[in-house]
């Protein structure tokens, strides 16, 4: 029962806030939600301890659907994988909930914000704790819904409302595949329970299914369909377009949903289904290639963006690509390890940038997210600056910071993965170089140099309040030290504790390289991190005229990157606009105009004319009603008496 409380507490907080928030709770909403999510965190820690002691909890709490052979329960599976996710989700949620007290202070929808955020935490916990695919799907859709609510939190701003819609619709593409995958799993295995499905996976290994005239391996098809969902939710190519726009939401939302937890649901799901993916080399290679290509693709875009949150958003896409790359080469625990470290340093990056935005906003700066209008904030916001540096050191993979351990593990595993693996390793290493560059570029543009806004604004910039900086420090602690649960064995023999912990679920990655190979990979990743740092240092601190020159020199390339490879425009031209035009002609013009409106208007007008006549007998005089009633009763009595 203790385990059921983990998702239930945020749900209760959501209920209270959404029902009573508007009238009674208002700006005290955090008194409801923060204790609830901290309670979840404490329970999650205790669940983690139980799992660490060797228990795997698999309980059905409630029989949800029972229809013939189709049985679905609301049940929880807490194994090492879920335990890690629980810790990540609840710890980061707690910190972000506290942070939001300061960040969202004074917002009109304060209670609504906490209500949705609590609902999100509930959904996410259901997603990671589910013990069957349908409950997973429920959590999957519910986090998407919350994401929609929260991206469009400031719905009076058109761009925010549009971004919410975009996120929802793009996710629909992926979720469609995911839903089909779940259905196919049921058709194939006759059950949706994880234990049953994974237990019988090897039985159907060789079977094929006829798919539009081609024979496709059933397992491959299932995995690819599931991966479809992951691509949508985790913003991989080609469905990545929603995530940068999702930055229209409040920054805590970006940190929690669009960096640390929801977008990693795809990674979690693929790792969860590893018994299926292991059986399909095609699906595995697809995952790896999509991950590797996304990693470098998003990194190139991040090089030239000016919006502070968008840079971090593209960085998130890129890091998610790393995780999929790890999953694709069979290093599931490396992927989850990176998910775990990434959650801390990326949430920290977002929250720190939120602190900057908050400060600029309160100083009256209008273009508060444009890095080109910042600069020199180091002396005004020392705390934010320091945690930013720590997070950047971590993400760029500087040794001894957490990002180094997890990223290095991924690169090493990719390097061992044969020819394709070597190619993907090359892409990933290149992406790491770019990561270092754009991360330091962000810092130099924001915190160094001179303030590029008006003096009056600069005068008003202050460090954020304690309620914001304390979560930052705690996250910074995580960003620096989270990686020490997974030290490569080459440095410390029993260092890879998280890998060992996850091994019962995710298995050990295949293949062992020599020490020389491992040291080579580590050396390369350190080298590229430092190289990226150096380039950024040169370009944005020493020779500040260089960026402009390069921009002028490689103008087509810069334009291509700056406009994100024109992918939004491409989708708009090829998908959205034809769809709109067709809808306008066919659906609006013909179906809606002729058929639906014909029926919709015809029926009421008939009813209206009929009832106009009928209304005459409704005089409203009660005695005439009484008369009619009496006559009616008399007719019944008379019929009973004289019928036979």
């Amino acid at each position: 029962m203790k385990y059921a409380l983990i998702p239930l507490l945020p749900l209760i907080a959501f209920m209270i806030n959404i029902l009573f928030g508007r009238r009674y709770i208002k700006d005290k909403a955090h008194w409801v939600s923060v204790p609830a999510v901290i309670g979840s965190f404490i329970l999650a820690v205790s669940a983690f301890m139980d799992v660490k002691a060797g228990n795997v909890i698999n309980i059905d709490i409630y029989n949800w659907i029972a229809s013939g052979s189709f049985k679905v329960a609301i049940g929880f599976l807490i194994d090492p994988l879920t335990a890690v996710m629980l810790i990540v989700v609840t710890s980061i949620s707690s910190l972000i909930f506290i942070y939001s007290i300061g960040y969202m202070h004074g917002d009109g929808g304060y209670y609504r914000f906490y209500a949705y955020l609590s609902l999100f935490v509930f959904s996410m916990l259901i997603l990671v704790m589910a013990n069957n695919f349908l409950l997973l799907y429920f959590g999957w859709e519910a986090v998407g819904l919350c994401s929609y609510f929260l991206i469009g939190f400031w719905f009076h701003k058109k761009s925010a409302a549009d971004a919410g819609k975009k996120a929802f619709i793009v996710n629909r593409f992926g979720d469609f595949g995911f839903g089909l995958g779940v259905i196919l799993i049921f058709l194939t295995f006759g059950s949706l329970e994880y234990t049953h499905v994974f237990g019988h996976a090897s039985v159907i290994a060789g079977k094929t299914i006829n798919f539009f005239g081609y024979d496709v391996g059933t397992i491959t098809l299932i995995c690819l369909l599931l991966f479809c969902g992951a691509v949508g939710k985790s913003a991989q190519l080609p469905l990545h377009v929603w995530l940068p726009d999702a930055m229209e939401g409040p920054t805590p939302v970006s940190a929690l949903i669009h960096a640390a937890t929801m977008v990693t649901a795809g990674v979690f799901m693929v790792a969860r289904c590893n018994p299926l993916f292991d059986l399909s080399p095609v699906a595995m290679n697809t995952v790896a290639v999509v991950g590797g290509v996304t990693a470098i693709f998003a990194a190139t875009i991040a090089l030239v963006q000016n919006d502070i949150k968008r840079v971090i958003a593209y960085s998130t896409i890129s890091q998610l690509g790393y995780m999929f790359l790890a999953l694709g080469v069979g290093a599931y625990s490396a992927g989850i390890f990176h998910l775990y470290t990434h959650a801390y340093f990326k949430a920290l990056l977002f929250l720190a940038s939120g602190s900057v935005i908050h400060a600029l906003h309160h100083a009256g700066h209008h273009d508060e997210q444009n890095m080109q209008k910042m600069g020199g904030l180091k002396k005004h916001m020392p705390t934010t600056y320091i945690v930013f540096i720590l997070a950047t050191l971590s993400i760029t993979g500087i040794p001894l910071f957490s990002g180094f351990f997890s990223k290095d593990e991924i690169l090493y595993r990719a390097f061992l993965g044969g020819g394709l693996g070597k190619f993907l390793w090359f892409l990933a290493a290149l992406a790491a170089l770019m990561t270092a560059f754009y991360s330091w570029r962000l810092i130099y543009l924001t915190f160094h140099g001179k303030f590029r806004g008006s003096d009056e604004h600069e005068h008003h910039i202050h460090e954020s309040p304690k309620v914001i900086t304390i979560p930052l420090w705690l996250l910074a602690f995580g960003a620096v030290f989270a990686g020490y649960v997974g030290i490569p064995p080459i440095f410390y023999e029993h260092g890879d504790r998280i890998g060992e912990f996850l091994a019962p679920v995710l298995g050990h990655p295949l293949g062992h390289g020599t020490h020389a190979e491992e040291i080579f990979v580590i050396a390369v990743s350190i080298l590229v991190a430092l190289a990226g740092w150096f380039i950024a240092y040169t370009m944005y601190l020493k020779k500040t005229e260089l960026p402009q020159k390069l921009e002028a020199r490689f103008q087509p390339l810069h334009k291509l990157l700056f406009n994100k490879y024109y992918i939004d425009e491409l989708y708009s031209k090829t998908l959205v606009q034809p769809m709109l035009r067709a809808s306008d002609k066919i659906f609006l013009g013909f179906f809606d105009g002729r058929i639906i409106e014909g029926v919709v208007n015809g029926v009421p007008s008939f009813i209206a004319s009929f009832s106009r006549g009928l209304r005459r007998i409704q005089t409203g005089v009660f005695s005439s009603y009484a008369l009619v009633m009496a006559i009616g009763a008399l007719c019944i009595i008379a019929a009973m008496v004289f019928w036979k």
Binding site: Q618, T619, V621, F622, S623, L627
Partner: protein, 100 residues
Amino acid sequence: MVPLSWYIMLSAVVFSIGVLGFLMRRNLIMVFLSIELMLNSINISLAAFSHYLQSITGQIMVFLVITVAAAEAAIGLAILMAFYKNNPTIKADEINLLKG
């Protein structure tokens, strides 16, 4: 001995007169009075059944009907008063508030 059917016929006739009053009268007080008349006609038949079937239940029923009639009269007349405060009329065919 008086046959049971005589009582029943008396009851039916009085009930019909009550219905007549209920349907004909304009004055709402008289309409209420007609309702009381109908209730009384039922009471007569209940008491008669009780007597002829040697069962006490009929009398209990009469007792309950009288109680409910008292409650009904009190509430009905209170509604009448409340209504009269707003529209100074108690003519049944002039009250058409039921018309939407």
